[in-house]
């Protein structure tokens, strides 16, 4: 039976933990709202860009001189996995889900005799891969200390990827990130970056009647890297919204668990106190009877 004093200390420490987790939950909720509205605001651009891409790409994909960013190098020897994670932890399984998905995919590709390279975006992911498969990392990037994600951040990553692609460092590039479904669920999603998702001929019927200036090829050369940046940008935004949602849920659970713990400990504490009082009473009564 622990002493009354040690129980009291224990209760106080759990109480202060609970205060911290509930404060973190509030902060995450506020930040979630901000990053959700940021993600919302970025949607029109991505949507238009997607429409424009499919309008032009449908015609160009069958062209033998189509840019490699669109149709790929024709090989699939070297894969680049771009893993997007958060810079901070305390968010449940948010970061480790990405880590696990990338690890499984990497192992699977390696089993097929392909080469795998990893570009880690976000500090937590980088830490994880450094432990698990350091030799595969070809680059990393994080946004520690940045308040909001800007488009230029995504552009820098896209530039980096395009340069590596032009140098022939990989053939296929896949983006792995947490898609924000709702506050409760974030799903690990893989989306192909290079070759760009090629639209099939039949889902783009009205595309043909656009005039294109200066011409398909030149415009595609400019559009493709831009589209890459847009996709990365939206993945970064989804990642940040998902992270705060996941952190909020994790902290909510922690607060609730702390509450239960406090309840249990207080029960024990009161029982012990009661037992003490009872035994003291018995002593007094039996002392009085003896007189």
């Amino acid at each position: 039976m622990p002493s009354l004093k040690s129980l009291r200390i224990r209760i106080n420490s759990v109480k202060s933990t609970q205060k911290i987790t509930s404060a973190m939950k509030m902060v995450a909720a506020a930040k979630l709202r901000r990053s959700q509205s940021q993600a919302e605001a970025a949607r029109p651009y991505a949507k238009r860009m997607g429409q424009m891409m499919s309008a032009i790409a449908a015609g160009a994909a069958s062209n033998p001189n189509a840019p490699e960013l669109l149709v790929g190098t024709g090989k699939d020897k070297v894969h680049l996995l771009v893993a997007v994670t958060a810079d901070r932890g305390l968010a449940g399984a948010f970061n480790s889900n990405i880590g696990r998905a990338v690890r499984l995919k990497a192992r699977e590709l390696q089993a097929q005799g392909k080469m795998v390279k990893i570009l880690a975006v976000g500090r937590k992911g980088h830490d994880y891969f450094r432990r698990e498969m350091n030799d595969l990392i070809v680059g990393h990037k994080n946004f520690v200390g940045k308040k909001t994600i800007e488009f230029t951040d995504a552009e820098a990553i896209a530039d980096n990827i395009v340069t590596m692609f032009r140098e022939g460092q990989f053939d296929i590039c896949t983006l792995v990130f947490n898609r924000f479904m709702s506050v409760m669920t974030q799903t690990v999603t893989e989306s192909p970056l290079i070759p760009a998702a090629t639209p099939t001929a039949n889902d783009n019927a009205p595309a043909a009647d656009y005039e294109v200036e200066p011409d398909d090829g030149t415009l595609l050369d400019r559009l493709l890297p831009r589209n890459l940046a847009v996709q990365i940008y939206s993945a970064l935004l989804e990642n940040s919204a998902g992270f705060y949602a996941s952190q909020m849920t994790a902290m909510d659970n922690a607060t609730r668990n702390a509450g239960e713990m406090i309840k249990k400990l207080s029960l024990n504490y009161n029982r012990a106190r009661q037992a003490n009082i009872t035994s003291e009473l018995i002593e007094i009564i039996s002392g009085a009877e003896a007189v």
Binding site: Y45, R48, M49, F151, R166, E211, V212, E213, L219
Partner: protein
């Protein structure tokens, strides 16, 4: 009948409103877009986007580059970066130009992709410097 103009930057939808005409800086030259324009997708070079209402320029924006999609009823501008002309700063513009010039000089002329990017940036920066001194929109 007015045409609906949408100006969208990667971060947000900046403006969406009906105008009589809009002049956009296409890669092959300026384009005046009136309602009923044929369907068009074009690249944009750095330059000014002018909004016309009742025969007057009511707003002017500087775009550093991007794309535009035009149909009969609407014109969407997907800008790389966009600033109101009145908010352009000559100091920043001069700095951008100096940097673009330095990058351009350092670019390998044989690498067509890098060359194209550097020259696009240089043209855009030059346009930014020029745009600062152009007459402001009448209000």
């Amino acid at each position: 009948m007015p045409i609906t103009l949408e100006i969208i930057s990667p971060e947000k939808l900046l403006l969406s409103k009906p105008v009589d005409m809009v002049v956009i800086p296409g890669t092959e030259g300026d384009l005046g877009i009136l309602p009923g324009h044929s369907k068009l997708i074009t690249g944009l070079r750095g330059g000014l986007v002018d909004l016309y209402e009742n025969g007057k320029i009511t707003e002017r924006f500087f775009v550093s580059g991007g794309f535009a999609e035009v149909t009969e009823e609407h014109c969407s501008i997907l800008a790389d970066t966009i600033t109101r002309q009145s908010e352009l700063d000559s100091g920043v513009a001069a700095e951008t130009l100096a940097k673009a010039q330095a990058d351009y000089d350092a670019t390998d002329m044989m690498d067509s992709n890098a060359y194209r990017e550097a020259s696009d940036k240089l043209i855009s920066a030059q346009a930014m410097v020029d745009s600062v001194s152009v007459k402001r929109a009448d209000h």
